[in-house]
């Protein structure tokens, strides 16, 4: 019983022994998203591609905003005089003008830039802080862990948007310059996100810490830092692409929420979708649809794109959810790569882990039976672990 239960568990995140050869074949195909793209099939690929296209359009728009936008975001008049407020879409203004007399198309385009700034700053800040804290906290445990968990829970408990509002007021000191606004939005989003990264990474760390391969590494005498970085971090951050894209989309939503509640960035400093939506509130009820529809759609499409990519990555990383291809196509090695212990580290801890993996591989229940239904995705064992083992504990109980 003991081996049977522990084995699949550790095999999953620890990675396959096949990981080593896979590494040698590394090429551009192994790059994160490209890799998953190749891995995907059918509708899943369709969704991933759709998401990537949306993200690509968003990124390109943000990068080339000055070229794409017909006017500046704060431009009110051209050679022929004022644009006029709330002009309906026309040749001069393809998407019309806002209540303030700005060109809607230009502001939607420039808005992508602001959104991108905020996403990048917010996500970077929160990943660095959240992952580090989560890793340390989960790995070492003890009073530090408890204190951090309590603080994270406390912050997490507070409605994110409101915390963001308060932080935005404090940080910006009420000023609304471009970078002031972006930093205020980004930092306030960060404050809210850190606990989320922290929670996820900590939980994963706690889980992985208990895995046999980490234990083995310890037995072998790997340093804490090494174990954390080599084994735990790699595996604990497997879910990060998902959280990252989700948080990027949440960053946009939070920024929009801030703008909508009146804590956004001013029109003359930058174009911001949430601010434009707020400004267009009374337009909506007056039959002026173009001022709110396009910034709103921009938000929805970007978030949609990010989420499609995020969920697709998640599904692909999770064999339970990945669309099964025919067994012949299966490349188990790739699987190991995602979460693999790097081949180069065969010397000490990983060697032990790898060794364990090899010895138990034959026992992996999925392998012999896999031909019919599924490839022997390593993580299957991981998923199956508790369920199977839970049977005598839980079974008798329930």
């Amino acid at each position: 019983m003991a081996t049977a239960t522990s084995v699949p568990t550790e095999a999953g995140p620890a990675g396959e022994p096949d990981a080593t050869p896979a590494r040698r074949r590394r090429s551009w195909r192994q790059l994160p998203i490209v890799h998953q793209l190749g891995q995907s099939v059918g509708l899943q690929r369709g969704m991933l591609v759709a998401g990537l296209v949306l993200m690509g359009v968003f990124l390109l728009t943000a990068l080339f905003a000055p070229l794409l936008a017909p006017y500046e975001y704060g431009q009110l008049r051209d050679a022929e005089g004022l644009f006029g407020a709330q002009q309906s879409p026309s040749g001069d203004h393809l998407l019309g003008t806002t209540v303030g007399g700005y060109d809607v198309l230009s502001r939607v385009i420039w808005g992508s830039r602001t959104a991108l700034y905020v996403i990048v700053v917010a996500v970077l800040l929160s990943i660095v802080a959240g992952v580090l804290l989560g890793l340390v906290s989960g790995y070492f445990g003890g009073w530090l862990d408890r204190v951090l968990v309590v603080i994270a829970d406390a912050i997490y408990a507070f409605p994110a948007l409101l915390l963001a509002i308060i932080v935005a007021i404090v940080i910006s000191g009420g000023q609304s310059s471009l970078w002031g606004g972006i930093l205020a939005a980004a930092i306030s989003i960060t404050v809210v996100f850190i606990p989320q990264y922290f929670r996820v990474v900590r939980a994963e760390t706690v889980r992985i810490k208990a895995e046999a391969f980490v234990e083995s590494a310890r037995v072998i005498g790997a340093s804490n830092r090494r174990i954390m970085l080599r084994h735990v971090l790699r595996n604990a951050t497997r879910t990060l692409p998902l959280i990252l894209t989700l948080n990027a989309s949440e960053a946009i939503l939070t920024l929009a929420g801030l703008g909508f509640l009146g804590f956004g960035i001013e029109a003359t400093e930058a174009a911001e979708w949430g601010y434009d939506l707020q400004q267009s509130l009374s337009d909506v009820t007056s039959g002026i649809w173009w001022t709110s529809l396009f910034p709103g759609l921009a938000i929805v499409l970007v978030v949609l794109g990010l989420t499609l990519v995020g969920e697709s990555l998640n599904d692909l990383a999770d064999p339970r959810l990945r669309t099964r291809r025919r067994v012949a196509d299966q490349e188990p090695a790739e699987e190991g790569e995602v979460a693999a212990v790097p081949g180069g580290a065969l010397t000490r801890g990983p060697a032990g882990v790898g060794g364990l993996g090899v010895t138990v591989a034959g026992e992996r229940p999925g392998t012999p039976a896999s031909a019919g239904a599924t490839g022997a995705e390593p993580a299957d064992g991981q998923v199956a672990g508790p369920d199977v083992t839970g049977q005598d504990g839980g079974g008798t109980r329930s």
Binding site: Q44, V167, A369, G385
Partner: protein, 369 residues
Amino acid sequence: MTTTTTEPTGGTADPVGAPDPAPRRRRKGSGGLGSYLLVRFLLIFPTIFILVTTVFFLMRATGDPITAALGGRLPADQLAERVREAGYDRPLFTQYLEYLGALVQGDFGTTLSDRRPVLEVLTTFGIATLELTVYALIVAFIVGIPLGMLAAYSRDRFPDAVLRVFAILCYATPVFFAGLLLKLVFASGLGWLPVAGRASTGTEIELQFLDNPTGFYLIDAIQTGDWDVISDVLEHAVLPAIALGLLTAGIFLRLVRTNVIGTLGTGYVEAARSRGVAESRLLRKHAYRPALIPIITVMGLQIAILLVGAVLTETTFEWKGLGFQLAQYLQARDFVAVQGIVVLLAVIVAVTNFIVDIIAALIDPRVRY
């Protein structure tokens, strides 16, 4: 969710001396469970304390309510005089201790911007938010769970793709944008449903003359026994419930789909089968177990998301609940009110988390620490 309950994974000594009291077996671990839950329960208090402290200092950093109210009206010296009289120029720490002292005695104070006892604000508006949340959860369940099942069963086929995109759209659309669109179509365009508010004026008046108004309008409306009143209250609830409910429904949909697919994953079935576990027993007893923790956890987390969503939904639809008031008080820099509401929210979320922890611990003892 992975390792084992039966296998002594921690066979080696814990090198960092991390407390790892997790009992290896449920049956042996009942004492551990008790103390774990006690610890978790006690942790509620520091959680609330931290929030209260954070919000206190943050709110003070955002400015005082007197300047917010009268900055455009009084000369600077008069303004400063008033701020001094109100005691807002004293050292922050003194004010903080004072506030904590009052809080411990159950004195939440009186709001500054509309002079109401905070406790009254909490009960009055809390019930309104509760009502909206209940409606929203009903919508979320009705929409999210069956569609999630449907998506799982038509996995990777066309309906699945449509449903997943629908789910993503549900939470990709800012609640206020969705609210605007709903209002535009159903209230302003088609005229089927009211624009905003919790009831029309006549109903509000009728409800306020009840002997025992609960503040839960549907219950109050039923008390009147007047069908017009009941339907009026319900009509007002439809759009806000949909706006807030769809946000959650999208998350439920995804969650149900993922977990149904996950727990029914063939790899698992094969694995179990290979070990000779009777299939019927396996499925009946254990198949859904691993799916439970994420679902419960997310349901717990939904409280926080719902509360945030409620701020925007309530603002969009003039649903005068805690979220709506919180936004108003925040504008007015009414820290007494904001702190009061935050304490309540903190308690709600902390207690929910506690319950989530209990359930999670009961399901998988390994989550204990």
